[in-house]
Point group: C2
Chain length 192, copies 2
């Protein structure tokens, strides 16, 4: 890489306080000190548990999709299954659990596609993406209170086309689908 | 699409209150009513302004990158330029402004690559992705207080390889880069 400028400093995190608690994250005020200037400043940090989303491929090479009303945008959103990881859970276990609870689908094998920080500037957690193969509906649904989920399947290429054309707008779901794309090209090449 | 289940209901948003204010978003408690059951429930909604990120291509077919210390993850993060849109600003104007202020680069043309919801479940805003071509360093830097940004350029294919291998972990930056990929394939095909 070509870089004409000098590197940024690593601020020292001194302490934090909880500004607000919610059922899904704590809103922290974290105090940082600049290592050179010595100046101190508070920054806002959201601290949710890690999240997981699952790219679930059926034997017919469809993907499992969920459509839900989302309170943040006050509208419906088409997504892949996912949710909040429990303490101590690994991403693959958590992903398969969320897939089963939300959709009743279970897979024959699963692996990690990748992990991101949803927003490094203001949020501490990570979101993991799991790819599950051979998924078929086997279980009863176990929805949380107030969950109403329309479960759908659609051919992979149709889902990827939706992702690239604005039909799927959830940024983390888009990450998972676009990270899955080269895996899908290999599967398709082997299957055809 | 194949869907064996019925659709979810559209909840009615009744009113909201501010649970906490921060410099970068309001934390709302929004009251919703289920249209069939009539039950009411509060949900947490983060309400930031819209954001924008810029895929800035140089005449040498490098991308402009920024490396910063990020308080949310308490670590450094390699990203593309971006920031908060101002009220009434359109995404392209905002993206070019952020590019100029953060890196001093200015482009010859720009267009929208796409827009996402960073988190439809709990967050109301959108993040827009702008593609700027012919970008070269022309302006003095205008960093906000406490901004320290390492400005770099790197060949597009190297950046995309980093994005797909975990070297770039910002989920929204990853969206922008992966949405840019087919555009880049066309540019590369035309340029070679």
């Amino acid at each position: 890489m070509t870089s004409p400028s000098t590197g940024p400093s690593r601020w020292e995190r001194l302490h934090e306080s909880i500004q607000a608690k919610t059922p899904i994250f704590d809103l922290l005020r974290a105090r940082f000190r600049h290592p050179v200037r010595g100046s101190e400043r508070d920054f806002v940090v959201l601290s949710p548990p890690d999240w997981v989303n699952v790219v679930a491929l059926t034997p017919e090479h469809h993907l499992v999709l969920v459509r839900q009303f989302r309170y943040g945008i006050n509208d419906f959103s088409l997504e892949i299954p996912g949710g909040v990881m429990e303490a101590g859970e690994n991403p693959i276990t958590a992903g398969l659990r969320e897939l089963r609870e939300e959709t009743g689908y279970q897979g024959t094998s699963a692996r990690l596609l990748g992990s991101v920080h949803p927003n490094p500037a203001i949020q501490s957690n990570r979101c993991h993406f799991v790819f599950a193969e051979g998924t078929v509906p086997t279980h009863a649904l176990e929805w949380d209170q107030d969950e109403e989920i329309q479960i759908m399947t659609s051919p992979v290429d149709a889902v990827l086309a939706l992702a690239r054309s604005g039909g799927i707008t959830h940024g983390l779901v888009l990450d998972a689908l676009l990270l899955f794309e080269p895996h899908w090209q290999r599967i398709k090449a082997g299957a055809s």
